[in-house]
Symmetry: C2
Subunit: 380 residues, 2 copies
């Protein structure tokens, strides 16, 4: 059985400490889920991801639908077994990648017709198909198919696509009956960048018996203020006793801002993608390992970090590996960034308990508002 | 102190079991050294390489000279510390890569003028510079600079370049006096593909007080029969009590053939490079992970292998990772191939002890003569 329990509520913000209980394990919230796009958290052995304390990762239905296909993963005994991951897996519905990667798409009431970005072959994704695929992957937490709304979009278009998302949510629930024993199905709130549409969508999705509630269509290029306003619009309509998941977000600052507003779950490619681009999160802010000043810098990436990479390697070495395009660079830097995110989540949970979440937010603001970020969106 | 001891001699072949004793560790021979080109055994954490039982790896002086440069590695405290490798390191002299990678080279009596393949900048490599660089890297076993002879080459050119290699060997020994405490310096036998020149070179190098003796300029495209003939020509002139190293070789079959002829040490990019190209060594011979028949094959790469990859992943998953260009593919496949090589070396040592080296050779011949090999040369 899937359960969510709130253990503690912050009395200065909407932040809460909780646990998600599933047959496969227990997860403290607020939680960050590393992204394992195509059945692998890029460049990392699953044991390393687990050793960093991560108990849940995200898999991308779109990517796995195209390659190797749900039939192969089902025959393998599900995605956990296929990829040798002993923790939990949440899968998205594929809607976001259809929107961001697929070259051709046609949305009808029935579903989305799209072409694979790999070979141009045609797929028809419906709410039912999205669940079927995720059931074959054997995910622990499944997401309903929603319609991603372009940014910017008119009010009219946003309203229309949000309504469609709602109809698909109901179809998903109907189809779900009796299917996912021990699994959880999350609904997705749309509403684009319009407060009233967000509220209406939150209200609609909250009225339905989903196991958790996600905020979709954010982190698509909008300013942080707008994103935060959209979260604020939706949250009051959501039941207290269900986990809230902000999809595809974000930087450490984005995350703490959302936690303050009552969000419990996050996923983002940022730590791993930035690592592969040589961009590292540290207690001093972002650093680029490419910088020539690190050529003879024999200190670790972050003096306050005790990750495997920081314990055993210097900036000079990591810069050398990165500039030499050595594959080990991506492993070591990804390890570091995921360690950083794990520590931030722990700090967030501790700050909630201690009533110091705003201090933590201000610290992260200091660190991350000064510097331009690498692009931060997309679950690829 | 560097020491080599023979523990057991095969009485049907020239194969011998030995140990190399150094201040940093003891290595059983025959030994295979994985290649860590640019300060990393590609795609593998050093702990994983060590966990496979490897105690010595090879570093490429040419690559490290160009990037990050010997000064950086010296400041880092040497290559072991720089790359977090606790085992031994043998470094080549750079001569082979100057020959195979550098666009421009001019050989004089003094040394080799060449341009970096990275940025075209000019370097002048002499026997003394080659040792200086390796001393800065803090290698345990250093190689003298030799002149790589093109294949095919005329007798005249081969003789001329072999003579130059000999003069450089003597210069290297002179320069070495009092420098490499606890370290070993190996001489390199040239002589191209001419038996008498090989003999003369072996005789010349063997007369000098090197700690070990290497066969250079083989595995440059010549047929296996010629290579084996060149080994046979040289070996009788080499002292029994020094390790013999066949540089850049080779396939499991190449290795066992050389062991039978009295060789103790090997290095090759084959296991790691083949892995990155999806080509795997198994108890059934080579397989390509790309093959469509593996799409739904949920068995391990090799049913007789107990490596981490074979214990935890299926061909279907590895094929998926490889076709998706997931970085983890290179790690998992490299781990498997290096495990295979480690096991082959263990089988070779056991076969020497049991007097069954020819049976092992025949088994490997059966496996590897049928199939075309991936290109097998080059320490890149």
């Amino acid at each position: 059985m899937f359960k969510f329990k709130i253990l503690y509520r912050d009395n200065q913000s909407l932040a809460r400490l909780g646990i998600i209980i599933t047959p496969r394990g227990v997860i403290p919230t607020p939680v960050f889920m590393p992204v394992g796009t195509q059945g692998s958290v890029k460049a990392l052995l699953p044991e390393l991801v687990a050793a960093l304390g991560y108990k849940i990762i995200l898999g991308n239905t779109y990517h796995l639908l195209l390659r190797p296909g749900p039939a192969v993963i089902e025959m393998a005994g599900g995605l956990h077994k296929f990829m040798h991951w002993k923790g939990l897996i949440l899968t998205d519905s594929g809607g976001f990648q259809v929107y961001s990667l697929s070259g051709y798409r046609k949305i009808t009431d029935e579903g989305i017709l799209f072409r694979s970005h790999l070979d141009g072959s045609e797929y028809f994704l419906t709410p039912e198909v999205a669940l079927d695929v995720q059931l074959k992957l054997n995910s622990d937490i499944l997401m309903v198919l929603d319609v991603c709304i372009p940014y910017p979009a008119s009010r009219e278009e946003t309203a229309k696509l949000t309504e469609l998302t709602h109809r698909w949510a109901e179809r998903s629930l109907n189809y779900w009956q009796g299917k996912g024993k021990g699994k959880a199905l999350f609904g997705i709130i749309q509403g684009g960048m319009f407060e009233d549409l967000r509220k209406r969508s939150a209200q609609f999705i909250a009225e339905h018996p989903f196991d958790g509630l996600a905020l979709g269509g954010l982190s698509v290029g909008e300013p942080m203020e707008i994103r935060n306003a959209m979260i604020e619009a939706a949250i009051p309509f959501l039941p207290e006793d269900k986990p809230r998941y902000l999809m595809g977000v974000g930087t450490p600052l984005d995350i703490v801002e959302a936690v303050i507003r009552g969000v419990d779950m996050f996923d983002c490619v940022l730590p791993t993608r930035n690592a592969r681009r040589g961009s590292l999160f540290t207690s001093q802010g972002m650093i680029s390992i490419k910088r020539s000043e690190y050529k003879e810098d024999f200190t670790p990436l972050d003096p306050e970090c005790s990750c495997y990479t920081c314990r055993n390697y210097t900036k000079a070495y990591l810069r050398h590996l990165f500039l030499s395009k050595e594959l080990l660079a991506y492993t070591l830097l990804s390890l570091h960034n995921l360690t950083y995110y794990g520590r931030i989540m722990q700090e967030i949970r501790e700050a909630i308990r201690r009533g110091t979440i705003f201090e933590l937010r201000d610290k992260l603001k200091e660190l991350y508002e000064k510097q331009p970020q690498e692009e931060e969106n997309g679950s690829n």
